[in-house]
């Protein structure tokens, strides 16, 4: 169900979420579990929707975090990648062609130049936001990297289902992004054994 809040209410919800997360981390009152749910867009399940929870009090990532955005059969795999801020994303060329990966728009701006089959380049996504990724040789290739300032995030699968691991019980402000649509926000309650449903317009 879409939820829209005025700034003061949103602030209060965020504070509540912060407090909940902080208390969870400090006291360990609730054992963290996977937050499972399903995303609907206009009543139908939706894939490749990035869901993340606000958690400003969450601890930083332990050590170096990496993810992979592969190039295979003239496609980026996956097409949508969500990472936490600070993640180093490997971009190997697993194809049989040369590629030139770049991002010129919002988010992380970079141009990796031409690199051969079997080699890889690394990009660190050091601020939150959406980066649109392209290949300058093959215009049909495109991908999105959504960098979020939270350890709690997931991408919905082909059935619209998602699972965010190790979420402490509590009330959270969530954000949802999908290609071609405005980002949406709302609140949800994470509790052991309870699945959530997110409705987007």
């Amino acid at each position: 169900m879409p939820a829209r809040f005025t700034p003061p209410v949103r602030y209060a919800v965020a504070c509540l979420a912060c407090a909940t997360v902080a208390s969870s981390f400090s006291a360990g009152a609730a054992a963290p579990g996977d937050l499972q749910g399903v995303v609907h867009v206009a009543g139908r399940t939706a894939k490749e929707v990035v869901i993340w929870l606000e958690a400003p009090a969450a601890p930083p990532s332990p050590g170096r975090v990496t993810a992979t955005l592969d190039q295979r059969n003239m496609q980026f795999v996956p097409r949508v990648l969500a990472v936490r801020v600070g993640t180093q994303v490997r971009m190997p060329n697993s194809d049989r062609l040369l590629h030139n990966v770049f991002s010129f728009h919002d988010g992380k701006v970079f141009d990796l130049g031409l690199y051969p089959v079997g080699t890889s380049r690394v990009v660190r996504f050091d601020k939150p936001g959406l980066s649109r990724i392209y290949c300058n040789i093959h215009p049909s290739m495109g991908a999105y990297v959504v960098s979020v300032d939270s350890p709690y995030f997931a991408i919905s699968d082909t059935q619209g289902q998602f699972a965010i691991p190790s979420v402490p019980d509590g009330t959270y402000t969530y954000h949802a992004w999908r290609a071609g649509a405005e980002p949406a926000s709302g609140t949800l309650v994470a509790a052991a054994g309870r699945a959530v449903e997110i409705e987007l317009p």
């Binding site: 059969n73 031409l114 051969p116 300058n136 215009p139």
Partner: protein, 335 residues
Amino acid sequence: MTGRIAFIALLACARPSSAQTGAVEVVQSAGMSNELIGGVGVQVRGLFQPAGRFRIYLEAAWGDRSSAGSDVFGTAYPYGGKVDAIENYGELTVQTSGLRFLKAGRYRTPFGLANASDHAYVGFLRPPLIRYGGYFALSSGYLEEGADLVAGVPHLSAEFSLGRSADVGSARRRPGALNKVGRIEGSLGPIIVGASVLRTMPDQPAYFAFGRATFRGVDARWMQAGVQIRGEWIDAVPFEGTTTKGGYLDAIVHTRVMGPVTALARAEKLDYDTPVAAYRLFTHRYVAATRIRIWRGLSTSLGVSHQGGRLTQHRPTAFDAGVSWALRKDFASGQ
């Protein structure tokens, strides 16, 4: 037959995977030139990965044009008015022990910048002079039916192909001894360079062309900030007593401010030398072209080329225009 046996052997080596992925792509194109030639074409490609390190590539094309009197539309696909099987191969990827790829079936002759995406119809309308079969050089329609091995590390690799000719289009090599192709490719920082050798039969009739054909070539590519520079140079003996030397240099630009527009500038030359003075061909060409992405898979290409020397092009300056529509469907199962 050689390629089919090798393909089946490769398939037997492949281990099934729990996840099968693939994609089917259809590209439809149409274009015309002020040389009063029109062309249409459809390419269908399938990429399948039934096993973890094994993939199958299938491709067929149909194309037709109102006249063969020019090299316009003579890119990576034949225009014979019938369906042709193009590349059909299986490839095993092994990223250990120095062996990297083993391919069997029917595939483009791995000489220089030979991938379909380098010279295919989607993009710019005229192939480089050294890639057009009618000029005693290479042909974009050269195909090998056999086995191909790539070994080495990513920054330096060697490739060797052994097979027989399975060409499409108007330039078809005569049957004879097996074709041998050797290639080395290395990268020096942002520059990727390669050198290739091809030993094969001529694509002219036996009463005209004696002996065998040998092609030697070098190629290089560099790309940064949306600017790609690439080129090839060949030094060939298309048949006994003749030589073909030539190459091209491309600058392909697609920077941030250009949005959906990609621009190409090409300078090229080709010299075919033969003891019979009347048949000698010394020519050069300059091309300016652009590809504009209109919406999703729909794009248009516009090109103007100016040439000197004797070629099949009717006019010294030609204008070409085309439109392409590409559809792609990816699928995955058994994740």
